[in-house]
Subunit: 309 residues, 2 copies
């Protein structure tokens, strides 16, 4: 096993190492053995949750939590738990967003979506249960000995994920798709800051919270997370416009077919690429105060902007 | 306004007074003004959440939280917030359970269900957001100054609501309906302890947690909550078998039409009524150590068993 503190370790190796740790812990969290306070765990529901959560994703969000915490000197099982809680929210959002009433996707990373592999009712419950488990993981004392840290993690995760964050962003996105009018850059920015940006930003902030960051460190990391989150979504819009289904593992070119609000439509492909690169630079600049220690997070921002899938 | 500490106040007046307080606070929580850490709240989503949460329910769960806390000498805005968090989880579960892929209900308390009043995608997001908001409310320091109390509230709520509690119970219920075999009393007991029992039990426990109960007090209140939760669901099965649509405000007699797992089917109508009365007595007996101070909770158990809607 590779040592994550080895300064010679490449970015890709480090990303892969965290992804493996995340998959192991998610696998441990998603078993049929009930926790204290639970009664029994239905095996079908556990199976559907595992299908939605153990799907070989890049695990960018938990990577950001782990690396933000490491930048501030914190690591270990508690940090990984906080990182996995963020990932559980991401996984729930994919399960629900794929539902027929939402984006109606049959494939996710080349595999059948949860409602195709199981059924709609099971997918709704699996998403609900992944979301609920995320808060369970954050609130458990195994995540941090200080309850005020755990409460701050729960509160931040809820605000990033709920009606004023991710879920609200999905609502704006569905409304934008149903609207006959073109979308302004300001509208798209807000929608994307909520739908994908809020959880990416909080993934970074969670690392700061769990590591006991100073207000100044937190502000720098949050600025980084905001810019990275925005870069992620522009890159996603660009990928959808350019990719084919094989590379992406899901339907491509579908944004143009619907009236999806994307920055490629609002700014053109070249304008969107310029914006993406500016945002990646902004993310990098926000970390200037940390110097060379922030190299991994800087590479994460470049990786996010340049990703091919 | 009636004084909730007035010993002469009838049970029904007290239940109604808490229901009004709950409706006011839920209304305050469900506005379009974003909280710190949120970006914006889509008005359609806020509207759908309000439709799902401000529907004139009896508010039995928050009542149990408020009265369990009051029994132990705690009251005030923080207790009401914890009570409302429990109710938000109940409301989310109704919104999702009513969806076409689940119980497919058009009416709830005589009003169109959220997916009928809005659409399926909005109902899914409204449920997700009500659930997320519940954890937000629990984790906020306005609920309790001690973060370890807030973390315990979050953890308990998650365990009662997730794959090993309410959501798992709904999964067992759907599986039971799809199964051609009759269901054993043990299977139905477990299903009901999860689907409706776990949150009712936790509603009582939340009052104990927020009031700083001793382990002995907590054990007594949890035993009460478990028995009351079981009595609630038997009473529900009996109501469905006996009621008509007008009284119930939703489709009645539907359990028999499907292969729903109910204690009326497993024990017969008279056997189910005997069971309900035994459970109400068990709930009452669990509170014997509190003496006359527990009168309101004893009446709540009787009310739960005898309710007509």
């Amino acid at each position: 096993m590779s040592d994550p503190n080895d300064p010679e370790m490449t970015f890709e190796n480090r990303l892969g190492a965290v992804a493996r740790d995340v998959a192991v812990l998610l696998g441990d969290l998603l078993t049929e053995t009930p926790l204290p306070g639970e009664i029994a765990r239905p095996s079908v529901l556990v199976g559907a949750m595992r299908h939605g959560a153990l799907n070989g994703g890049k695990r960018l969000r938990p990577f950001l939590t782990v690396e933000a915490a490491r930048l501030l000197g914190a690591s270990g099982p508690g940090v990984l738990r906080a990182a996995c809680a963020v990932e559980l929210v991401h996984c729930y959002s994919l399960v629900h967003d794929d539902l027929p009433a939402m984006d109606d996707d049959d494939l996710r990373r080349g595999q059948p979506t949860v409602h195709r592999a199981y059924d709609e009712a099971t997918a709704i419950l699996a998403g609900d249960s992944l979301l609920t488990l995320a808060f369970d993981v954050m609130a458990d004392e195994a995540t941090h000995p200080d309850a005020s840290v755990r409460a701050a993690l729960v509160l931040g995760l809820a605000r990033a994920s709920g009606l004023g964050g991710m879920a609200g962003g999905q609502m704006f996105d569905l409304a934008a798709e149903a609207s006959p009018n073109p979308h302004t850059v300001a509208e798209i920015d807000r929608l994307q800051a909520m739908k994908t940006g809020a959880l990416l930003r909080f993934a970074v902030e969670a690392g700061a919270i769990v590591a006991g960051a100073s207000p100044e460190q937190t502000a720098q990391l949050v600025a980084y997370g905001k810019a990275l989150g925005a870069a992620f979504q522009v890159a996603d819009d660009i990928l959808d416009a350019e990719s084919d289904e094989e590379t992406l593992g899901k339907k491509a070119g579908k944004d143009a077919g619907r009236n999806k609000a994307t920055l490629v439509k609002a700014l053109g492909l070249e304008g969107a690429k310029k914006r993406r690169d500016e945002l990646a630079f902004e993310a990098e600049a926000a970390l200037a105060g940390f110097g060379e220690a922030a190299r991994v997070l800087v590479e994460a921002a470049r990786f996010t902007a340049a990703r091919r899938s």
